[in-house]
């Protein structure tokens, strides 16, 4: 995995698991990862720094609505080695790429056109959106 080690260190330094363990369980349950925290977590997990803050808030809300609020807080406090192997960590990256949060507890569409995999598939666009080149564009070989 290609996660920048400096950012890993930063994350561990700012919200250490050791510190959180001193807080009573009831207070921990009320703790909530804010949008900025989720954005940072997402950027670390996805290894890209260009994620959209507004979308981060929407993805965070979707994960929380599917019952993952506390799990996100825990994830954000883990050491990178432990964190990156968590299923939830993978799901965060998958959500950004597919635009959909997909968990056992449910599925929520957060973004359609803004799902990151359409950036990767830069030779096309999502179904339902007209091609910017219009009629017959599909006949051409794609060239960057």
């Amino acid at each position: 995995m290609l996660i920048d080690s400096r950012r890993r260190a930063l994350l561990v330094g700012t919200a250490s698991a050791a510190l959180l363990s001193l807080i009573p369980a009831s207070a921990k349950a009320a703790t909530r990862l804010d949008a900025a925290g989720f954005l940072q977590l997402s950027q670390d997990l996805a290894d890209r720094q260009d994620l959209d803050p507004d979308l981060a808030a929407s993805y965070l809300a979707a994960f929380e609505s599917l019952g993952k609020g506390e799990a996100l807080v825990r994830l954000s406090t883990m050491a990178p080695a432990e964190r990156d192997s968590q299923h939830l960590a993978e799901e965060i990256v998958a959500a950004w790429y597919t635009g959909t949060v997909s968990l056992d507890s449910g599925q929520k569409l957060v973004a359609y056109e803004d799902a990151l995999f359409w950036e990767s598939l830069d030779y096309t666009k999502p179904p339902g959106i007209c091609s910017s080149e219009g009629f017959g564009s599909w006949a051409k070989e794609w060239k960057p």
Binding site: Y97, T98, L109, F117, L121, F135
Partner: protein
């Protein structure tokens, strides 16, 4: 409260068949067009599509117990499956019918499709031949706005050109065409399709949205809401959210009135000189069976006991592979070419015809790509630029092809009324018995071999053949047409043998299913039936 309506012709079902007939008769006759489902606002449907987490074919369309129809992700909520196979073909209840989410593919039948028994000793012959239907195919192509290749069609002789110039082959099509030159699959050609290649009858040219299924955002693909509007403009009265529960008849077989339940709870009665049933191949037999009376204890039009029998689909072999070279799929209409050669030949005595459809949408049908591709690469641990590159590289090489095979009519494959389970209106839900025979299995096997050959010539790895038999979503055969009242439900004019003023439209009347996507043949038969309906209403 109960409302009474009177008209010359009552058409039940506002899909392509009912809408075309309504449009042809409106003006000269008083026409009512009823549909169990609501009108569709394209913009609202499009928004529902964008917002749906899982973009099934039904995702853009409203869901209600008041007009239930099968939804792909929970098909057993509507069909009562009596096995052994699961019947997975769906339809919509909407004004405009299932053409809202059809692909738009409009091949004609080939002449041998009408004489399967006399030529190959299989199934049965149609009571009419290709030559009799040819002029109506031409009219249907004009009505739907079919774009097709120039020049002669080697399989289905034409009296004139297609009304619209062809939809261009995709880059992917052309790469396959080049790779298959000199092979038995060399005749890869542009598919005739009811999709505008130029502006035609107030609809724009295709913009390449690549969402023909489940919705065309701009109406470049034909849907029957168009002919519903045209019929209304000529004076036809369209009643949506109006479910016909049963037809009533006199002892002489004359249909007198239709009992209608409106979704708002009201009841209505429609009186007409002629009734035209166009509610597709599950709902029309369901209605006839539910209309059983003392005079007609087996249901209406059912003295042959053929109502609901001979249910057919086009069982599909779906295969996919990773091309060595990029093909740049996920662009353009979902399919723009096919290989039609295996639709004709003496082999049909031993195994079915099939039609190879080249998919433009990568692995979206078989695997749910590109979403699943992204998830798989993420699960492998790829991130950042490496993930971007892998996603693009892999998706650009995803190739899928599908073959629709011919399924012979089998009286044991049937829809009838479930004895226990009922819908909101107390009408029994459709119970379906469905199986594949050895003939179909031989066709699927032949298709797999053909797909392997094609993949080999193209240059691919990771070849997969779907182990499930996929549905082409083509429901056919449950009210077969024939000359003999003892063996069929309707005559070649689509009039019920038993009821002078009852007509049946749609693929339900197909004696055999061939492998052509059925909509154009539905349209041609419906237009051909207009004069007999008019005469019956005037007589």
């Amino acid at each position: 409260m109960s409302q009474r309506y009177d008209c010359d012709v009552a058409i039940i079902g506002a899909g392509v068949a009912g809408a075309l007939v309504a449009d042809a008769l409106a003006g000269a006759l008083s026409v009512m067009l009823l549909d169990a489902g609501p009108r569709v606002d394209r913009g609202e449907a499009y928004d529902r599509f964008l917002q749906a987490a899982i973009k099934t074919p039904q995702a853009p369309y409203p869901e209600s117990d008041l007009y239930p129809f099968p939804r792909s992700e929970k098909i057993d909520d509507w069909y009562v499956q009596a096995g052994p196979e699961t019947f997975a073909a769906t339809y919509l209840k909407l004004v405009g019918g299932t053409t809202w989410h059809w692909l738009g593919t409009t091949p004609r039948f080939v002449p041998d499709d009408f004489r399967l028994q006399s030529k190959f000793g299989r199934g049965l012959d149609w009571p009419l031949d290709y030559a009799a239907l040819e002029p109506w195919y031409a009219k249907a192509e004009a009505a739907l706005g079919v774009a097709g290749p120039e020049g002669e069609d080697p399989l289905s002789p034409r009296s004139g050109p297609y009304p619209l110039p062809p939809i261009p082959l995709s880059y992917l099509d052309r790469q396959l065409g080049e790779a298959l030159a000199g092979t038995p699959f060399a005749d890869l050609r542009a598919t005739p399709q009811a999709r505008n290649s130029i502006a035609y009858r107030d609809r724009p040219a295709c913009c390449g949205s690549a969402s023909c299924i489940p919705i065309c955002p701009i109406g470049a693909k034909y849907d029957a809401a168009l002919h519903c509007q045209m019929a209304e403009a000529k004076g036809a009265r369209l009643l949506d959210r109006a479910f016909v529960v049963a037809l009533e008849s006199g002892a002489d077989g004359e249909i007198t009135r239709a009992k209608v339940r409106m979704t708002d709870g009201d009841e209505a009665w429609v009186y007409a000189k002629v009734f035209v049933l166009a509610a597709h191949a599950i709902e029309t037999p369901r209605l006839l069976l539910n209309s059983a009376s003392e005079a007609f204890p087996m249901g209406l039009a059912n003295s042959s006991d053929q109502v609901g029998r001979n249910l057919m689909d086009h069982p599909v072999q779906l295969s996919w592979a990773l091309s060595d070279a990029p093909l740049w799929p996920y662009r353009g209409p979902l399919s723009t070419s096919g290989i039609e050669t295996p639709r004709a030949g003496d082999f049909r005595a031993e195994r079915p015809a099939y039609r190879i459809e080249i998919q433009n949408a990568g692995w979206s049908w078989p695997t749910g790509a590109p979403e699943t591709t992204a998830r798989a690469l993420i699960a492998q641990g790829l991130r950042g630029d490496a993930l971007d590159h892998a996603l693009k590289n892999r998706s650009a090489r995803q190739l899928a092809i599908s073959s629709l095979t011919e399924q012979l009519p089998n009286p044991e494959n049937r829809i009838d009324l479930d004895p226990a389970l009922k819908d909101h209106y107390g009408v029994p839900r459709p119970r379906i018995r469905y199986a594949y025979d050895d003939y179909t299995q031989a066709g699927l096997e032949a298709a797999r071999a053909a797909h392997n050959e094609i993949f080999r010539h193209v240059g691919t790895s990771e070849i997969n053949h779907d182990k499930r038999v996929q549905s082409a979503q083509h429901i056919m055969g449950t009210l077969r047409m024939g000359k003999d009242p003892a063996l069929s439900v309707v005559d070649p004019d689509l009039r019920a043998h038993q009821h002078r003023n009852l007509f049946v439209m749609g693929s339900a009347v197909f004696p055999t299913g061939a492998v052509a996507n059925p909509t154009l043949t539905i349209a041609a038969l419906s237009l051909r039936a207009v004069d007999p309906i008019r005469r019956a209403a005037s007589g």
